[in-house]
């Protein structure tokens, strides 16, 4: 049992170290690349970065348009509901209230999901940017050395 505990600790430490050193490992990997591979990968990362920058604006535009469209229609419905509230009978009041609540809830969930998607996408762009910086640093090192 004791041996198992030690083994688990050892594997855990190893795994954590690997996670901490992931950037250094990546550095090493890039350094060991042949010139041809380096140029190929560098070009790929650079084009990926430019592409994701453009997609970022497209994604933001799509999200704002969808949410704007849905939000505006919901606002119009809610306005109608509040203006005509007194003219409804009790069953209509109940149905209209439930409809507005469900639609508002769905819109809220949609807003949160879109915010999470945008956040994850921005994080992805940051990662690509970090990789690009890595490549450029190594390029500088090589030209200086």
């Amino acid at each position: 049992m004791k041996v198992n505990k030690i083994k688990i600790k050892r594997i855990w430490k190893k795994s954590q170290e690997k996670r901490k050193n992931i950037y250094n490992l990546e550095y090493e990997k890039i350094r060991k690349m042949s010139e041809k591979d380096y140029i190929l990968n560098y070009t790929e990362i650079k084009s990926k970065y430019k592409f994701s920058q453009n997609v970022k604006y497209l994604l933001n535009t799509i999200v704002i348009s969808i949410l704007g469209f849905l939000g505006y229609n919901l606002y119009k419905l809610s306005r109608t509901f509040f203006i005509n509230y007194t003219t409804f009978n009790s069953e209509q009041k109940e149905i209209a209230t439930i409809t507005i609540i469900i639609l508002s809830g769905l819109l809220l969930i949609l807003i949160f999901s879109f915010l999470i998607i945008i956040y994850l996408y921005l994080k992805r762009i940051k990662n690509i940017e970090r990789k690009l910086i890595m490549y450029e640093e190594i390029k500088k090192e090589n030209t200086n050395g």
Partner: protein
């Protein structure tokens, strides 16, 4: 054995998240099945969609929103699993575990969707369609 232990420890985060998620979904499913049974019994008695949605202090609406949140969380876990795989793992064991977790989560999402469809989603669609009809007809008249 060592290899298996290594895979488990390397992917401990995903495993804990998946188990917690499965337990939450299990508790939710048991309660939802009970509610579904009660709603179907009420439907047999001849209650309308609005009566069913009002049943037990609007429980159907709460369960509907929980279902959406749980399904989104499931998709989030699938994303997280793939993200971790892409970033930290190059081992075949990690990849197999990642695929296994993804399959489990997909099954859970399908299970939630199947449970929520009848009768809760049906009732909600009915009420929302009637509500939208009322509101749109008034807004186009005024």
């Amino acid at each position: 054995m060592d290899k298996f232990l290594e895979i488990l420890i390397n992917n401990i985060k995903q495993i804990i998240i998946t188990i917690t998620y499965s337990i939450i979904v299990f508790v939710y499913s048991v309660n939802l099945e009970q509610l579904n049974y009660e709603l179907l019994e009420q439907e047999k008695l001849g209650n309308t969609a609005i009566d069913l949605i009002q049943y037990n202090n609007y429980q159907a609406i709460y369960y509907f929103f929980y279902a959406i949140i749980l399904m989104s969380m499931g998709m989030g876990i699938i994303y997280f699993t793939f993200y971790e795989l892409k970033k930290y793992s190059a081992d075949i064991g990690d990849i197999i575990l990642g695929i296994l977790i993804t399959i489990i989560i997909i099954f859970i999402i399908i299970h939630i969707f199947k449970l929520i469809t009848i009768p809760i989603l049906k009732i909600i669609f009915t009420v929302v369609t009637i509500g939208l009809g009322i509101l749109f007809s008034i807004s186009s008249n005024s």
